[in-house]
């Protein structure tokens, strides 16, 4: 086998890893969309906000330091302590739950029964608001996130695969973080499935996703389920934020991965959890392989648009996505 082939395999594997992250973000979208019909534009910003909060808590940053300093003329920046990663993650989850409750209490409770487009606009507002709050709370500088996940190329994989491709091949280059991300994502999805299938709240969640009126009639509180769902989406966002942040730092661009999730959803369908996973992997692998195989012929930089073109093709030929429920217009 020529070395080219093995590079191809390596690109494929890296694509899978990238796909896992896309899938994670898409998963957050699907959860909220299924349960409430809201397309949550703020999902990406939630990931950014969660990551920022995590870093802030770990480093003992004083929230709203700039605001406080500017108002009171103080010069506070840090509490002076460091919080261990695990405790900080738990605290951040708490913050995301509070956030979910606030969003439900002050935004969507007042918009029950509105058109989807209105709800969508509300999430756009929410996105900008959250972005601003994040800046204000934790500052706008790029931060590094280190929760102790293994990083860097796996030498073990590299050494043990080098023999495959002869002299021109030095073994697969695989980032350990990517492997961790894949494992975490798999655990997360399994946990979500178990939660949805076997717990009381999971059953209630599926019920709400299916029919609001019927859910009410069996004693399910819609607002509780929505807080639950937004909390779950916040948790998923945190996981995505940790992975992405650990890889390329916590910065504004993180919120843009939400845009990558869009084609993933078009592929996988807006209502399907397996769809989000498979869609994410297809986009991840697809864009890397396309760049590797076709990119050189047409001048490269295909990663910027490949996903969207693929999504466009899907919109034309299979609008409900790979796993989505068939779209039937009821008259």
């Amino acid at each position: 086998m020529p070395a080219e082939f093995y590079y191809g395999v390596e690109v494929f594997l890296n694509g899978l890893m990238a796909g896992v992250l896309y899938a994670l973000v898409a998963l957050g979208f699907v959860l909220i969309f299924k349960a409430s019909g809201i397309f949550n534009y703020a999902q990406g910003v939630m990931a950014l906000f969660a990551a920022l909060t995590l870093v802030g808590i770990m480093e003992g940053q004083v929230p709203f330091a700039h605001l406080i300093n500017a108002t009171f003329g103080t010069n506070l920046h840090h509490f002076g302590w460091q919080v261990p990663a695990l405790a900080a993650i738990v605290l951040t989850v708490g913050v995301m739950v509070v956030f979910a409750w606030l969003v439900q209490r002050f935004v969507f409770r007042h918009l029950v029964g509105q058109e989807p487009i209105i709800l969508f606009m509300a999430t756009i507002g929410l996105a900008y608001f959250l972005e601003g709050v994040g800046d204000l709370m934790w500052g706008s500088d790029i931060k590094t996130l280190n929760v102790g996940l293994p990083q860097g190329a796996s030498l073990w994989v590299e050494n043990n695969t080098a023999f495959l491709g002869g002299d021109d091949f030095y073994g697969f280059f695989i980032d350990k973080l990517d492997v961790v991300a894949a494992i975490v994502a798999a655990i997360l999805v399994a946990a979500l499935v178990v939660f949805a299938q076997y717990t009381k709240q999971g059953r209630a969640m599926r019920a709400v996703a299916d029919d609001h009126q019927a859910a009410l009639s069996v004693g399910i509180s819609l607002s509780f389920i929505w807080v639950l769902v937004w909390s779950l989406a916040g948790f998923v966002a945190l996981v995505a934020g940790i992975m992405w942040g650990a890889k390329s730092g916590v910065q504004f661009s993180l919120s843009l991965i939400a845009l990558k999730a869009l084609p993933v959803l078009m592929l996988g369908g807006f209502t399907s959890i397996p769809g989000a996973i498979v869609g994410g992997l297809i986009i991840g692998v697809g864009e890397k392989m396309f760049e590797f195989l076709i990119g050189p012929m047409i001048g490269g930089a295909t990663e910027n648009w490949f996903a969207y073109v693929l999504a466009l093709l899907f919109l034309v030929f299979r609008p409900q996505g790979l796993f989505g429920e068939r779209i039937i217009e009821r008259v």
Binding site: K200, R206, A207, D211, A214, S217, V218, G219, I220
Partner: protein
């Protein structure tokens, strides 16, 4: 005929000699408006323990609105809802459900994507005590609870003879069976009061007979108090202990099927002037 306010709590004996229980639900001077339109005008009636209470009337009489008030989907502008001897504050439908009032819908509201079993299981949600955190910590307790609820649900599946479709997604069932599954889900909640909104709408003769038998058996076997809306007068006369007749949002009759059938206002409403 003005509403009698002091409620008698003596057992009520129907003219055919059947004793029915105390007042379970008492609706007092209910008025419901949509914008300027009065859908229900100052209506009072009660539902007694163990009876089958029918609400009948021509289209647009306000029957469904009445049921929606009882189940908390509408909150009336005026009037009081008394349940089990206490005045009920304005409530959300899910809170009403947790009080032990289960219902079905005229147009069927089932979880179409879920199996029959899962649908009926959702009826047990109000009986599940173990919380989210507790479920992850005390796995055994959650499992025991699941088994207990499953047993209760299986009894109902057996009762309504829907064993053969246990695992079928509800979306694939024919209409008549969906109605039965919806009844099963409501029964799974072991309700103190069961509200049925046109349980036999759109059914053929045979399905209607089956459904009537199930309703009677539920009332008989579990002692469930049932309030139902129905168009088919024959069915109402066969099923119900007492009947409330509504027309244009007003109550025009209240009594046993025989009394109601002989009531001139009722005859006029049904035979005289057509509303359609």
């Amino acid at each position: 005929m003005s509403a009698v306010l002091p409620q008698d709590h003596a057992p009520f004996v129907t003219p055919d000699g059947r004793t029915i229980g105390n007042v379970l639900m008492d609706l007092r001077n209910i008025t419901l408006r949509f914008g300027g339109v009065e859908a229900i005008k100052n209506i009072s009636f009660d539902i007694r323990e163990g009876e089958i209470r029918a609400i009948i009337g021509p289209n647009g009489a306000g029957k469904s609105s009445m049921l929606n008030i009882i189940s908390g989907f509408y909150v009336p502008q005026e009037g009081e809802v008394w349940f089990r001897g206490a005045k009920r504050p304005p409530m959300k439908p899910y809170q009403v459900a947790r009080l032990g009032i289960a219902r079905t819908f005229q147009n069927i509201a089932l979880f179409e994507g879920m199996s029959v079993l899962d649908n009926v299981m959702t009826g047990r949600l109000t009986h599940m005590k173990t919380g989210l955190l507790a479920q992850s910590i005390w796995k055994g307790r959650a499992e025991r609870e699941e088994v207990e609820n499953r047993e209760a649900v299986e009894k109902i599946i057996d009762f309504l003879e829907i064993q053969a479709i246990r695992k079928t997604p509800v979306g694939r069932l024919p209409y008549g069976l969906k109605k039965r599954v919806e009844l099963a889900r409501a029964l799974a909640a072991e309700p103190k009061l069961l509200l049925l909104d046109e349980p036999m709408a759109g059914m053929n003769v045979e399905e209607k007979e089956d459904m009537s038998r199930f309703i009677l058996d539920v009332n008989d076997e579990f002692g469930t108090t049932i309030a139902l809306i129905e168009h088919d007068m024959g069915v109402v006369m066969d099923l119900s202990d007492r009947v409330v007749v509504m027309d244009y949002g007003r109550k025009i009759g209240d009594g046993t099927p025989t009394e109601v059938r002989n009531n001139q206002d009722v005859i006029d409403a049904y035979l005289g002037v057509s509303h359609d």
